[in-house]
Amino acid sequence: MNVIFLGTIGIYHPTVAAHLYLGRHINNDFSPLCYWGDFDAESNGEPMLIGLDSAGNRIYSLGAGIEVGMTRKSIEQLAAILGHSEKELVIQPISVKAEMTIIRLYRAARLKILQRTVNHVVSYLLTREVDTINLQVKELQDRVRFD
C-alpha cells in the first residue's frame, strides 16, 4: 500500500507527518528529517518517498499548493483510472493553522538567499503545531487498518 501525506507545501508539515507516522523521534529541530525544506524536491512536484513502515507500506509526502482538496480528488480518480483499488492508495490531508503564512513564506523563498531563513521560520511555526499534526497522523492510523 502507498500512503500519501498531502498538504500545501510537501516539504514542511506533510513531511513532518510522514516522519511522525514512521515513528521517528522529532525534536524541535526538523532539519535532519529527510526532504525537510528541500526546495528542489518540492519544485519537482512528485511525491517524496519518506520511508517504509513495518508492514512494508510506502510512505510519501506531497505538496499540492492551495488546492489540496482538488488534488486529492484528481489523485484518487487517477488511481481508479489506472486500475488500482482504494486499498492500494491512502491519502491523508495534513493542515496546520499557519498554513497561509507558510505558503507566503514558501513563495518568498523563490529568492534562493531566503531559503534557509524561511526554513528556520517555518520550523519555528511548526514546532508549535506538532500536536495538531500528530492528531492527524493518529486519525489516519485509526482510519486504516493495516494487515
Binding site: G45, E46, Y60, G65, E67, G69, Q77, I81, L82
Partner: protein, 157 residues
C-alpha cells in the same frame, strides 16, 4: 494507454483537443459553433468539475481519452499525476497533454464570462470564436500527441 488533455477549466481547449483525438471533430475543417456545442462537456462545466478527470472516449488504438481542468496550476499538476502513476509503476501508461499553450485571449475571456460569471449568452460566442481561431493549433497538438504515442514508450516524451 490513458491520455489526459488538460487546461484551465476542462471545458474548451482540452475538450476540443480530446474531441479531435476521438474524431468527433473533423481536423480538416474548422467547426461551427453548433458543432462545438455538440461536443460533450464543451462550455458546460461548473466549478465542481475542477480537478475531475472526465472520460471522453476510446480512440481506434484502444487509448482511453480523458479531460480535466486544473485551474491555474501549470505543469506542476501534470508532474503530480505523473508521479502518482510512477508510484504504481504505470508511468508508461499515462500521457498528460497541456492545452494551455494553445489557448488564445478570446478563449480565456469568453470562457471566464461564460463559465465563471455565468453570462453564457455573452461568453459562449466569444469562446467558440476563440476556439475556432485556435482550432488549427489544437489540431497540431493532437497530431503531435498521436505521433508521440505511436512509438511510445521507446522514445520518451
Amino acid at each position: 494507454m490513458k491520455i489526459i488533455y488538460h487546461c484551465f477549466g476542462g471545458s474548451h481547449s482540452s475538450v476540443s483537443a480530446a474531441a479531435l483525438h476521438l474524431g468527433l471533430l473533423d481536423s480538416q475543417k474548422v467547426p461551427t459553433e453548433e458543432e462545438l456545442m455538440r461536443i460533450p462537456y464543451y462550455d458546460k462545466t461548473t466549478d465542481a468539475d475542477f480537478g475531475e478527470i472526465r472520460y471522453m472516449g476510446t480512440d481506434e488504438n484502444d487509448n482511453d481519452i480523458y479531460v480535466f481542468g486544473k485551474k491555474s496550476f501549470s505543469n506542476r499538476y501534470s508532474t503530480v499525476l505523473t508521479g502518482i502513476a510512477k508510484i504504481f509503476g504505470d508511468q508508461d501508461d499515462l500521457i498528460m497533454v497541456d492545452c494551455m499553450k494553445r489557448v488564445n485571449w478570446s478563449m480565456k475571456i469568453g470562457g471566464f464570462t461564460s463559465r465563471r460569471l455565468g453570462l453564457t449568452s455573452i461568453g459562449r460566442p466569444i469562446v467558440s470564436w476563440g476556439t475556432r481561431k485556435a482550432f488549427m493549433h489544437l489540431v497540431n497538438l493532437v497530431e503531435i500527441t498521436r505521433f508521440k504515442i505511436s512509438d511510445y514508450p521507446m522514445k520518451y516524451l
